[in-house]
């Protein structure tokens, strides 16, 4: 436990309080939904695998549990990837999608959905197979990522890279617009539905694969906390400190693309969490040390994602709100309030 010895209160928060909050929210999340299931039955289903009604057991095991776990992965992944991007670019407005990952994914999905009939024609159905969307989205992100990585080997300056990422995003966005123009209403609707983002579409098989990517992404992130701390000062300083900036940058980009790309592929682009959670965490923990921030951001991301998803359910109401609307509606005012009450975020980037 030497990891946190520098500050006992931070250790207490990260290792005790946040996980306890997560556990409570997780159980709360699973026990709420459109169908009201008594709490004892929820517990029974979770721990013994049986319930009074078989449909309740199925709802908990195949609807609510995968969704809660997806929220868990998405919160951690988007939070951490946002943190990495903000540090790499030393820009508080950076988020997991600045490198064009979501635009690339959108382009991939748009190509498959919107050109479905005319060009590819490999699908007989309008409703797409989940895996097709996942693969298309991953390929889209990956291509944009390769482009950005090639550029990142050539340019010394992260700001240039940021602009290049934004430009790739614009190109992909424009290509999607052109595709939308040429596709019919039904296909557009399918594409739009994907862009709304959703945590609820994953079955257990998909969840396993997503989990694999996210764990690797998080591991890379954890081992690169030292370069991240050094990069916070300035790239030139990092160089004089003996840091291989290019190597560090590639590691960080790789981790981000696994995290943000994975979530985008499986859940669609989910807004706000990646931008806001790092700020919230820095303000709450009052530190910019990535040794603390990486686990704290991951845990805070989980908390916020679970909370938003719980709100989106609106218990015993028959329908659900789009997750993107909820994350922004709830998250944005909280961030504004925190930033104003703490006198700005300027301090976040200096130790």
């Amino acid at each position: 436990m030497t990891y946190f010895t520098s500050n006992r209160s931070i250790f207490f928060k990260v290792v005790i309080i946040l996980p306890v909050v997560i556990l409570i929210l997780f159980l709360f999340n699973i026990s709420l939904g459109s169908v009201s299931i008594p709490l004892p039955e929820v517990a029974k289903a979770l721990f013994t695998g049986s319930a009074e009604k078989e449909s309740w057991l199925n709802i908990i095991l195949h609807f609510r549990l995968p969704k809660a776990l997806t929220a868990l992965l998405a919160g951690a992944a988007l939070g951490v990837s946002g943190l990495q991007m903000q540090t790499l670019f030393r820009n508080p407005l950076a988020g997991p999608y600045v490198l064009g990952i979501s635009s690339g994914a959108s382009l991939g999905v748009a190509l498959v959905v919107l050109l479905n009939y005319s060009v590819i024609g490999i699908f007989t159905s309008l409703q797409l197979n989940n895996w097709v969307v996942i693969i298309a989205s991953s390929i889209g992100s990956f291509i944009v990522l390769i482009c950005v990585s090639i550029v990142s080997l050539k340019v010394r300056d992260s700001m240039t890279l940021l602009i290049v990422g934004l430009m790739f995003g614009s190109i992909a966005g424009a290509a999607v617009s052109v595709l939308q123009f040429f596709s019919d209403a039904k296909q557009l609707q399918i594409y739009m539905v994907w862009t709304f983002g959703s945590l609820g579409g994953l079955g257990w098989d998909e969840l396993k694969i997503l989990c694999f990517f996210i764990v690797i992404g998080l591991l890379i992130s954890v081992i690169s906390f030292k370069p991240l701390n050094t990069l916070l000062l300035s790239e030139n300083y990092a160089r004089t400190m003996g840091l291989n900036v290019t190597k560090a940058r590639i590691l960080i980009i790789l981790s981000t693309s696994l995290l943000a790309g994975g979530i985008t592929a499986f859940c669609g682009p989910i807004a706000f969490i990646g931008l806001a959670v790092p700020h919230l965490t820095r303000l709450v923990f009052n530190t910019s040390d990535h040794k603390v921030l990486i686990p704290a951001v991951a845990l805070s991301g989980i908390i916020i994602m679970l909370f938003c998803d719980t709100v989106a359910q609106i218990p015993s109401f028959q329908s659900v709100l789009p997750i993107n609307a909820v994350t922004s509606l709830i998250g944005a005012p909280v961030v504004i309030w925190l930033i104003v009450s703490k006198g700005g975020i300027k301090n976040s980037f200096h130790r």
């Binding site: 199925n58 409703q127 989940n130 399918i190 539905v193 659900v320 789009p322």
Partner: protein, 383 residues
């Protein structure tokens, strides 16, 4: 974002566009004295047609969902002068000889009245199913007017139809103003807002008025109506009504037809027990997957899994679909038996104007023993 600015626009447009009530009275007044024929519309709620001295007054009472102002059109025969009192109203000269429309659901208005030869333009020609129209398309007699909502105004101007039939989801008529300036009449069709199958089919009478085929339209409708009611009566006495539900999940939202919707009416007429029949919505309701699962897990029949042809495709899209009883028993049906390779589907063309055929299909699905002689037309069972 574009949509928002347009909806801001629309009240102003509507005010300009809405009819002048004085002029309407001018025509209506004599009608009270002289006995006038009123085309009887028994089912349609969004359409009114009056006949005053050879002039048909067509009123679209709800041009789009939630519209507060109706639209009135004066259909004046070509051999008759336009009365001065109507000069600044919306006038359509009949019979329409060069016609263009914007939805496949408008096309049966032509095929049922044998007026296909008037069609000169349509957007998304590839989606058309009716053979009598596709032959005209192949012969190059129908111009491609653009893609869906984005009507290519220049092509419309070049084709120069006498009347363009369109529809609007949000009261935006802005794209039509260059057309009316060029003298192309337009008419808004709101048949999709009807809440009963026969109400929707009754819009054939609007086409009857436009093409001066009133009697033919009436007789076409009467035969559809009597066939529909015959099947409905046949089913009204069935004792066991299979439970059913509809549609599928779109990224966490399951669109289920409301209890007062067009589809719900079909289901109740077809002798089915629709699981959301107690709902009062006329459109669709948005449900979560688990809410649908909870209620419909034991349902007998599952309808309208859009776009799917096989059960394995359905399971591949989401494994949770396979947990419904209807999936296990293979009682899943889809209305795409007549879909074409370009993404067009006759169900979305002829289906709305032939509720008798749709009802027979549904009756066959729910009560095959009663409908032994009928073969599924629009629907098919997933393999």
């Amino acid at each position: 974002m574009k949509k928002v600015s347009l909806t801001v626009f629309f009240p102003a447009l509507l005010m300009i566009a809405s009819c002048n009530s004085d002029q309407k009275e001018a025509v209506n007044k004599p009608s009270e004295q002289a006995e006038t024929a009123l085309v009887s519309l028994n089912y349609a709620e969004k359409l009114k047609i009056d006949h005053v001295q050879n002039i048909s007054i067509v009123q679209i009472t709800e041009p789009f969902k939630g519209a507060e102002t109706s639209l009135t059109y004066y259909l004046i025969p070509k051999d008759q002068e336009v009365p001065d009192s109507l000069r600044s109203t919306r006038i359509i000269r009949t019979p329409v000889e060069k016609f263009a429309c914007t939805s496949t659901t408008h096309l049966p208005g032509l095929t049922l009245l044998n007026t296909e030869s008037t069609l000169v333009g349509f957007p998304s020609l590839a989606l058309v199913s009716a053979p009598s129209i596709t032959t005209r398309i192949e012969a190059g007699e129908v111009a491609e007017l653009g893609k869906d909502y984005s009507l290519n105004t220049e092509v419309v101007l070049e084709v120069d139809p006498e009347l363009l039939m369109t529809f609007t989801m949000d009261g935006n008529y802005k794209h039509l103003s260059p057309l009316s300036k060029a003298g192309i009449a337009t008419i808004v069709n709101a048949d999709y807002l009807e809440t009963t199958p026969l109400g929707r089919a009754e819009w054939i009478k609007l086409f009857g008025a436009l093409f001066q085929k009133t009697e033919m339209a009436d007789s076409v409708f009467i035969s559809i109506e009597s066939e529909y009611n015959r099947v409905k009566d046949l089913l009204s006495t069935v004792e066991k009504k299979p439970t059913t539900f509809n549609g599928m999940d779109y990224n966490g939202v399951w669109y289920m037809p409301g209890g007062n919707s067009w589809m719900a009416k079909f289901l109740s007429d077809a002798g089915a027990d629709y699981l959301w029949k107690e709902n009062t919505e006329t459109g669709s309701i948005e449900l979560s997957f688990e809410a649908v699962y909870d209620r419909a897990v034991e349902a007998d029949i599952w309808l309208n899994v859009h776009g799917f042809n096989t059960l394995s495709e359905l399971e591949a899209a989401d494994e949770r679909y396979s947990k419904f009883k209807a999936y296990e028993t293979g009682m899943v049906f889809n209305s795409n038996a007549r879909a074409n390779e370009n993404g067009g589907d006759d169900y979305y063309e002829a289906g709305f104007s032939r509720p008798d055929l749709v009802l027979k299909d549904l009756a066959k699905i729910f009560h095959p023993e009663i409908m032994a002689e009928h073969d599924l037309y629009f629907y098919k069972q997933l393999k």
